[in-house]
Amino acid sequence: MAEIKLKNLTKRWGDFVGVDDQSLDIADKEFLVLLGPSGCGKTTTMRMIAGLEEPTGGEIWIGDRMVNDDLPKDRDVAMVFQNYGLYPHMTIFENIAYPLRVRGVDKADIPERVQKAAEQVELTQFLDRKPKALSGGQRQRVALARAIVRTPKVFLMDEPLSNLDAKLRVTMRAELKHLSRELQITTVYVTHDQIEAMTLADRVAIMKHGVIQQLGTPDDIYNDPANLFVAGFIGSPAMNLINGSVQDGMFVTTGGTRLVKVNTPDRAAAILGVRADDMQVHEQGQGDIDVTIYAFENTGESTLLTVQWGKQRVIARGDRHLRKDQGDVVGISLNSDHLYLFDPETENRIGM
């Protein structure tokens, strides 16, 4: 059990900056998710914590020990890899037992502990098979069992669900959440999937170009995005971003439509962010503004209306019983409690 501290951590390959001078404190027993698009430095950060990648600068602390110079085996971490990293020449039992064996755990204790780990991930009937005889989901469980068979200081998980099909991913996500609450071990989890991040994390760190853009609870990140990148990355469909300006306390689109009242001093350029769920769809003339439907999509649980708004397209979510067609005109109104203004220059939030 331990907290992790990253101090001014940097990784460079020649001119390419993988992780740029980042500091991060992860509390004991916290489940922290590193979220970002590929190449944002999230996996590199985790691999440096594991000791698989050497930092160019900065310090890594696990508990009260600076581990920069420790080999992976001496850091007392367990890791689940994207492709699982199972040992193909060993049975499932031997795979799970390997961390115990190689660390010199008393031979007599090994079967019991392997059995217990296998039970926790429901693998007991496969112990004498080889990895290639198992399905993707089962392999995933073996990788998990191998991580939980010891009680390491830290769990590291590198996109552990990304190789599973969509349905299995949902099941495994719930199992993972259940297991992590049960085990209460500090966990760092890397993913590019925002749903995984939102559902699993105590806190999420969103990264881009080697820099943490925002660190906060899933609630913070969804409801209080710090900048344009976070606003655009979190939420599905992505937040609508409308170009315009603030004049006389009103947001005015580039097309000249005076859209909605905002509590900000006037400024020449601003971007208004609004989520599809924070717009109401009405019949023509009954909203704040009338727009033409560009595409109407019925997803079953709701409807999505892509509407032409001046030169831009905006997505609004409608009731699941709503039926419209391309070219129809509808009225849209905005919920002024959930509007976000961004500065197009700095891309940061403007207080409202």
Binding site: A50, G51, L52, L71, P72, K73, R75, V77, A78, M79, F81, Q82, N83, Y84, G85, L86, Y87, P88, H89, Y98, P99, V102, R103, A143, R146, L156
Partner: protein, 275 residues
Amino acid sequence: MTGKQKKQFWNLIQTTLILIAMFIMLVPIIWIFLAAFKTHVDVYQLKLFFTPTLENFATVFDDPYRLGEKLVNSTIVALVSVVIAIPIATLAAYSFSRFSMRGETMMLVIILATQFVPAVVIILPFFVMFRDIGLLDTRLGLILVNLAIVMPFAIWMIKGFIDGIPMDTEEAAMVDGSSRLQVIRNIVLPMAAPGLVTSAIFCFIIAWNEFLFALILTNKNAVTLPIGLALFKGEEGDLWNLLSAAGIIIMAPMFVLALMIRKYFVQGMTMGAVR
């Protein structure tokens, strides 16, 4: 012709061409196999049907040919070359595959290049040196020189196999608590085992078939099988039935070995340029 008829006609032509090609490729081999079982008289006629005899095999092992000695030499030389080369090559191949080193590409290219240097260039200085230190016509001398062709080959080939082992697995083992040497022993060696066996067989075939080194370095005690073929030049020309019997003894074991590794054949021979 309809499309279907055209297709059938084309298939027939293809099948015929394949059969002709196979015939051409196999005839010289089959001819040797037949001749090895023919009597001295039958071999001088283009006979397809004859009474087979095993006499030729008895003759080649007997005085004055004593092919058995050459067989022992060939086996020892090829085997020891492989036993020395494979472990050394494996360690190097792992390092080349997994780490980046200063001058790594340079080293790999030089190792590749040595494979392409004409054997006749390498053998001249060795001949002079072996003459001075008394290694001419010894198995030891032949083994040392064989390393020149087997070693670079083994390094490249094994590197190819290790490149194919996913990094994930090794990293998992390191996080699980293994030192680098434990990773090599517990994870890499078992996973690379089929590749190591394949490389060993490749190297064995190469060493077994090696001709020029043995021709220049040996004359009596350390003569290998391919050089032994020269024994069967009689006063009145080649003794084809005996040559053929010796030929079978040289090639039959290699056929078996080659069939065992047929899956990796192309990758091995091109040193990973084609997979």
